[in-house]
């Protein structure tokens, strides 16, 4: 396949970036999108040019690192998939493909396509945990949890923190991410004792980081590689309002 790439190049967070065009001739349709970038980078290195910096780690859809905004969509045209799970067969010979980093105030560009997503870490540090005594592992089935509740928690826990929700949202809102992180603990008995403070602290940190508010466009859920449901955002709204009205935190 022949591919025409337009890639965002930016030296570091202090310099302005620009779109740069690259032409690739020998791309196999079976390559993943990241492998296509590997080919580009090898070519660039042979030419003595700086390779394109991009984040990646697992290359199997579980680490959430491979942030790329491809042809106007987070992780490209496929739904329910990350960039590493996208293959060149999703494109046609001769296509022009535009690749940009996630764009959000809270995710500043570090270099080329790499953005700083530590804002997510700070949101989780603010309350996305349960305080327990660590010791020997508790008995399985010691606490009975219905299958329905377990499924709900696991659906939310699938979030890999990739930031596609923020990237796709017109408001750069992190609501789907925060909702997933609040939900997977809030529905389980282990998460209940701290649920009021958790919602309050995580939302406060989310606002502090400079993410936008939710307009319920649903773009996040469509672009989320794990298809996290908007149900969780409704739960976060309930948790937060309930916490604000009933917690003793004045």
């Amino acid at each position: 396949m022949k591919i025409n790439l337009q890639v965002w190049r930016q030296k570091n967070s202090n310099t302005a970036g620009k779109m740069v065009e690259y032409k690739l001739d020998n791309i196999s349709p079976d390559m993943s999108f990241l492998e296509m970038f590997d080919v580009l980078n090898v070519e660039l290195m042979h030419k003595g040019e700086e390779p394109v910096a991009f984040d990646h780690d697992c290359r199997e859809g579980i680490c959430g690192m491979c942030s790329m905004y491809i042809n106007g969509r987070a992780h490209g045209p496929q739904t329910g998939a990350t960039t590493c799970q996208l293959h060149m067969r999703s494109f046609s010979d001769g296509d022009t493909i535009v690749v940009e980093p996630w764009r959000a105030r809270a995710f500043p560009v570090i270099k080329d396509l790499v953005v700083d997503r530590t804002a997510f870490d700070r949101v989780v540090q603010a309350g996305g945990y349960v305080s327990v005594n660590t010791g020997s592992a508790p008995d399985a089935n010691e606490i009975a949890i219905s299958r329905e509740v377990a499924e709900e928690a696991m659906d939310a826990a699938q979030c890999i923190g990739c930031g596609a929700c923020v990237a796709a949202c017109k408001n750069a809102s992190a609501m789907l991410f925060v909702a997933a992180k609040v939900s997977h603990l809030a529905v389980l008995p282990q998460g209940k004792p701290e649920h009021l403070a958790r919602a309050e602290k995580m939302v406060a940190q989310m606002d502090e980081e400079g993410f936008g508010a939710c307009s319920f466009t649903g773009a996040c859920s469509v672009e989320c590689p794990k298809s996290i449901s908007l149900d969780h955002i409704a739960r976060l709204n309930r948790e937060y309002l309930g916490a604000k009205l009933s917690s003793t935190n004045v």
Partner: protein
């Protein structure tokens, strides 16, 4: 900051204010459209004038109307604050974005649609509300009692084609605002349930985005055709 101001200035708190004021405005639309149906009675405006008399003299309605004015102002101001903040959250825009692939148009243009509604509300209140309260409206007499003849003002306004056209366009904007707004208002409050959400979506789409704006739009069209002797 007290917990109240802290809550109301958070992103979620601001959305709750949007939701409560927006849904309150929706409830008002039902009353307003039902009352205005009096325009269709072929009685020279008597039923309509009696209805407007009631609306401007009943103490309960007067109290609620202040709540309504406040809601409009708060809803519009909060819309401005939120929209600015949301735009600010992405200082560098994408060179190429394809939002139509993942979200409905109405959900992404609530600010634009709302601005059309705000202009409409100002125009609408200037023509009718202002005239009724501060203007010189002719009087009509039914059974020996004097009434302000707002019907004549309505007839005069709706005999102009441009005025009717503005109304129809604004009601289309209202439909688009509410097809997203009504269900979004419930989502903001965390009201989302397998059993009730389909009902909320049906009400939002069918009643608030189609039937109510259509009825509001038919009124000026009907009056225009009647006044100009077309029907």
């Amino acid at each position: 900051m007290s917990w109240v101001t802290q809550t109301l200035s958070s992103s979620l708190g601001r959305k709750v204010i949007m939701s409560l004021t927006g849904l309150f405005l929706c409830s008002f639309l039902i009353v307003h459209v039902a009352g205005n149906l009096q325009l269709f009675k072929g009685d020279g405006g008597r039923a309509f004038n009696e209805y407007t008399y009631f609306m401007t003299h009943n103490p309960l309605i007067i109290t609620v109307s202040y709540l309504l004015y406040t809601s409009i102002i708060v809803h519009a101001s909060m819309a401005l604050i939120l929209t600015r903040h949301n735009q600010d959250s992405r200082p560098v825009k994408y060179a190429y974005a394809k939002p139509e692939a993942n979200s409905p148009w109405s959900s992404r243009n609530m600010g634009v649609l709302g601005t059309v509604l705000l202009i409409f509300i100002v125009l609408h209140m200037r023509t009718f509300w202002f005239e009724m309260h501060f203007g010189s409206v002719p009087m009509a007499e039914y059974d020996g009692k004097e009434y302000k003849d707002l019907y004549t003002v309505v007839v005069a306004a709706f005999s102009q084609l441009w005025y009717v056209a503005v109304y129809v366009v604004c009601m289309i904007a209202l439909g688009y605002h509410l097809v997203h707004g009504f269900k979004s208002g419930f989502q903001t409050l965390g009201i989302r349930h397998k059993k009730y959400t389909p009902l909320i979506e049906f009400l939002g789409t069918f009643v608030f985005a189609i039937v109510i704006p259509a009825l509001f739009a038919v009124m000026p069209i009907y009056m225009y055709l009647k006044v100009n002797g077309i029907i």
